[in-house]
Amino acid sequence: MPRLTARLALAAALLAAVPVLGAQTYPKGGDPRDDLAHGMANAGVAIQGMRHLGTAPKSAAFDSTRGLTFVNSDLAFRGNLVYQGNFAGFTIWDVRDAAKPVLVAEVPCITSQGDPSIVGNLLFISAEGTGNRNDCAKGGVQKPEDGMMGVRIYDVSNPKMPRLVKNVQTCKGSHTHTVVPHPTDRNIVYIYVSGNQGVRQGMAGCVAGDDPADESNSLYRLDVIKVPVHHPEMAEVVTGARIFTGIGPVARRGGRQASGGPRNCHDVTAYPAMGLLAGACASAGLLVDISNPEKPVRLDAVADTNFSLWHTAVFSNDGKKVVFTDEWGGGTQPMCQKTSMMEMGGNTTLVIGADRKMKQHAYFKIPTAQTDRENCVSHNGSLIPVPGRDVMVQGWYQGGVNLIDFTDADKPYEIGFFDRGPVDAPRAADDTTRRRGGTIAGSWGAYWYNGRIYSSEMARGLDILELVPTAHLSANEIAAAKLVMMDEFNPQSQPKITWPAAFPVVRSYVDQLERGKGLPAGRIAAIRAALDKAEAANGAARRTALTTLAGQIDGDVAGSSDAERVKTLAAEVRRLAGK
């Protein structure tokens, strides 16, 4: 039975590759996030490494808490505008003044879960719920042809008056979606659609099936929408990315083949500059080559019995690591209590080898126990562009927002947080008069964009934060991060970060060498003094000073415990000299 043997070998490879990984110990208490006062608008706050600049409360159309009906979802960014999804529509904010974001537009349109992406003047919104309608109205779908499951496309060239251009229907709806640019043609973008519903009945071309290899099967694929940017009304599903074939053992069910592997992704993160995509695909984490966006090719798949739902991913900027998250409890449940398992409902870091295979390293979960009133689990985040380190910001629903350093794949650690107390008051165990769960709230996603952190609070609005220096993150590192500016940002379509030649960038490396004891204190002080002097000089004098300094730093490489960082520092000083 060579085929059976091969299948078993593949199954074993998926799971056996998981060693006993590092996870934190259970929170011991004494964390500033413990015992915060409850409240919707006036909850207690614990904050470290960040400053809270402001909150834009939900606009009137969505200002209600009724289960998931009016919760905020994901964010997209362009210029000074933040596009915030909601299960009942979307909001556009002008965030020039972080303390007082200005409402540009609120667009009621029932669309769970409403994840947005922005490409130029086009706003894409994910529609999955079976109660979503073509006409956006409430009341549910009475006739199947009125249902809208797929991606809505809005023209937002006038952000005050968004205009629905097209509802692109897909067979499994769109839980999330990801923008993938065409490799050469700037007038075309692809939208990879992650749909979690079953195959719709009664829609032409939608076929349910058990066999992932069957090309006519609508279930085992990511739908790919091709969008001519100047003719969004012509957007349509052009292909299905069949990246699930051959994952997991194949079981025989009623005489048919049934895959033991995933049939959809929850979320996929594209890294177009690397031609890579990380697929957080329910039962597996996938690495996919997307150099041809119409023909993606799976490179690797990893499974883990501790993960409930591979949910989303963030690549390190060098593309050599990827953080995957596990949405244990679906986001509506309190999975960060002191009794909740620490290796579940958090992150895991995988290293991507030269062979483009992934190796799983440690787990990470917020090192604080949240209450049973707080829906909490690992959720969405993005990189903070600190040169020389891998730092990300992440939302954990009512677990708040936190900052994580995952430079060392085996030892991710927290370097800051912002957390509110629960929305609801504690409930006595024997109290049968109140609901057992709390109001659904918290950070859906927290992202760095052009110098600030934006967190989409499901019930409370849009939070805006900035970084403040701590022992874990220096003023120079923050200043260097703020040098990275983007015109447009969709967190699931990760841009390659580059830093300009600048003093804060150079000083970031010096700070890191000091923190990590990569150079003796005397050398750190001397390099800082030389940099100050060079900065005070101009033109040729500055160039000469920097070139001399770079030469001296070359001499530090051999004696350093962090030689690579010293080399990078020398190179950055030279780059600055050449500016």
Partner: protein
Amino acid sequence: MRHLLLILLATAPLAAQDHAHHGAHGGLPPLKPIAEGSLHTAADVQFMQGMIAHHAQAIRMSTLAATRSGDARLVRFAQKIDQSQTSEIQLMGDWLADRQQVVPDSAMWVQITMPGMLTAAELAELATLKGAAFDRRFLELMIRHHEGAIAMVADLFATPRAGQEVDVNVFANEVEQVQSVEIALMRQMLATLEGAR
């Protein structure tokens, strides 16, 4: 009002179904009136009620693993099912209570029969096994149990107008997804066990 009456009539025979048939729906509490204009339907209410019982049995099966399994990974996996489904039972209970429907006591699983659930004899047999024999049988039965939950979700969505209310929609999808993932993992664990035999 006419609409409400129809719902009540339509569900009356369901409550009277024979409980003993494996895979049949039976033993659900009586349906309370659903206000006109509500997005949720009788099928949504009964899905939540039935799933509470279904989950409660899975929790019972999972707690057996703590003392009977021979595999640390499976013990942890069962603990995950236990914590996930305990929390989901609370969520379903809140959903029903918010809509003035009967919240079945989670101990009701012995009287409510839903697809994939174990018979009393199967559960008793499982409780006698230890080590690898337990692991194998646990995985087989829990795969079947989970497939039953997925069938319940499929039934829900196949019912006209059901599964549209957003909280039911999200929850039902989550059950489908998470349990599909767990089936995939259990098939892999089972394959690993078979390979080791």
